[in-house]
Amino acid sequence: MARAAESMDGVFRALSDPTRRRVLERLSKSPASVSELAEPFDMALPSFVQHLRVLEGSGLVHSRKTGRVRTYQLAPKRLRLAENWLARQRDFWERRLNQLDAYLLELKEKRR
């Protein structure tokens, strides 16, 4: 259960950024190389590659290297997990209660 919540956290983190969302939208059309993906963005390549790493770390995409070209594609399985309504609700509640626990410990410290 905790692991599912953690992996959902990764998915939501990946999806929380507009650049990464645009990359995902682009990949929903077809697989693409790093340079094809980077082309529409006015961003230094190393920063852009960081975004790709976050996406890959979340399991939303995977990549394959052929010669000198790395090609990215969507990973539909993880997307279906993100689509699962109850998993999202659970993720929401887990994060909410994590914040509650952190806040309570902080309150308790202050009252000492």
Binding site: L15, S16, R21, L24, E25, S28, K29, L74, P76, L79, R80, A82, E83, W85, L86, R88, Q89, R90, F92, W93, E94, R95, R96, L97, Q99, L100, D101, A102, Y103, L104, L105, L107, K108, R111
Partner: protein
């Protein structure tokens, strides 16, 4: 601690989360029932609670306004059903303050606390409405920020 016997979680619709924390029940209770506390944690970052109103009695208002990272506000209004200080709190959005039926009910939440050593064991249970109700809530809900992009992706993923 077990849930009251009339509560029967449905695994396809309901969530039951249990935590143990080394903080006394009175403090946990305050965090759930005082706006100045609840606003601090009730909404997972980067969303924020920007307004909160609590009238802590059966039928009394429980209202929060949650703000998305894009600055859009989503009000949620419901009422309390059961209040047993330091033990149990039940509320729903199926009824508005004064028990008036709501137009688009979605959930009932039950929080149960019990002392455990110097701390508290608490169970948060959320009971939700059927699929159709859930979808509508989701459309106005927390994932609005990336909902459209995700929907397109999911639609595409299904064809893969």
């Amino acid at each position: 601690m077990t849930l009251p016997s009339l509560l029967k979680p449905d695994p396809t619709l309901d969530l039951v989360l249990e935590r143990v924390i080394d903080v006394p029940p009175e403090l946990v209770w305050a965090a759930w029932t005082k706006p100045e506390h609840l606003s601090k944690w009730f909404c997972p970052a980067p969303w924020k609670v920007v307004d909160c109103e609590i009238d802590l009695r059966p039928g009394g208002m429980f209202r929060t306004v949650m703000r998305s990272p894009e600055g859009k506000d989503f009000p949620n209004t419901g009422c309390y059903l059961e209040i047993v200080p330091n033990k149990r709190l039940v509320w729903t959005d199926a009824l508005l303050p004064g028990y008036r039926p709501a137009a688009d009910p979605f959930f009932t939440a039950i929080v149960t606390l019990e002392p455990r050593g110097t701390g508290t064991r608490y169970i948060a249970m959320g009971m939700h409405r059927d699929e159709a109700g859930r979808k509508r809530h989701e459309e106005m809900g927390f994932h609005q920020g990336w909902g459209t992009a995700l929907d397109q992706l999911v639609a595409h993923a299904k064809t893969m």
